[in-house]
């Protein structure tokens, strides 16, 4: 664990760059992590991020299938929003832990 300044805020991040405490998150932090990855966030991205944060707060395990069935986005759209890391990149930007599911 290390402390990093993102968007002017000091946050605790894991070795892989995931926020350790999801309550430290805000939209500016999301934008900065996203731009590091090479993604420019749109309102649609935030819909997904908020969904992921809600599910994580409710202690549900996130799977790509679950997100695809959420009604927020389908799987194809999810890949389009977060290329090459539909669950990993979206989780990192949403300030939640690294996904632990294999699917």
């Amino acid at each position: 664990m290390s402390v990093k300044t993102i968007a002017g805020v000091q946050v605790n991040v894991s070795e892989d760059g995931y926020l350790e405490d999801m309550s430290q998150w805000n939209e500016e932090i999301a934008k900065e992590i996203a731009s590091e990855i090479g993604i420019e966030l749109t309102p649609k991205h935030f819909e997904v991020l908020n969904f992921l944060r809600e599910k994580t707060a409710a202690k549900e395990t996130l799977t790509i299938r679950g997100v695809g069935k959420s009604g927020v986005v389908n799987i194809k759209e999810l890949y389009a929003l977060f290329p090459k890391g539909p669950l990993k990149f979206s989780s990192r930007i949403a300030g939640i832990p690294k996904p632990t599911s294999c699917i």
């Binding site: 395990t61 790509i64 299938r65 799987i75 194809k76 890949y79 539909p86 669950l87 699917i103």
Partner: protein
């Protein structure tokens, strides 16, 4: 010695067996690769074709005889004689599919869609398709093409590429 990380860039999976666990092993690895942003090609051949054949793909079975790892619910050994009784393999397989569903593992047709939605590519082996007298329309719509093993190898070029046989 260099410590530079060299992540995988491409995986090429070959699925040659048609049991529930063999097909799912290929599908989980393929979907996992796609989710990691790795270019993914899957080649279904021989009995593995059941995994992409419309009529068979959502009814795959696991072997209840000749499978020493098979257990009864609760962990006791599964008697081979019992496994051979009519209907047992079917019932056990449907139970396994239910347990997989509970872990959010999708049915085969949906799994194939998930893989292609992320850019993974699914192929059928020409030799095996001819042998089983199948046609393109018998196969899942997610199958891009019926190709030879030579053509598949051509897709496996490049550094940081792995071929996985299941």
């Amino acid at each position: 010695m260099s410590t530079e990380k060299k992540p995988l860039e491409k995986v090429c999976l070959i699925c040659a067996k048609g049991s529930l666990e063999d097909v799912y092993a290929s599908l989980v690895m393929a979907n996992g690769a796609v989710m990691e942003g790795i270019e993914t090609n899957v080649f279904f051949t021989f009995f593995g074709l059941d995994g992409i054949t419309k009529k068979a793909m959502n009814h795959l079975h696991t072997a209840t005889t000749g499978n020493p790892a098979m257990r009864m619910p609760g962990g006791l050994p599964f008697p081979t004689m019992l496994g051979g009784l009519p209907g047992v393999e079917s019932a056990v397989s449907s139970m396994m599919r239910k347990q997989m569903e509970a872990l959010d593992m999708p049915p085969v047709d949906e799994f194939l869609e998930m893989i292609t939605a992320g850019g993974g590519k699914i192929y059928a082996c020409k030799l095996a398709v001819d042998m089983f007298k199948l046609k393109k329309e018998d196969l899942s719509d997610e199958v891009i093409d019926i190709i030879t093993i030579g053509e598949f190898y051509e897709m496996c070029d490049g550094d940081r590429t792995q071929i996985i046989f299941t």
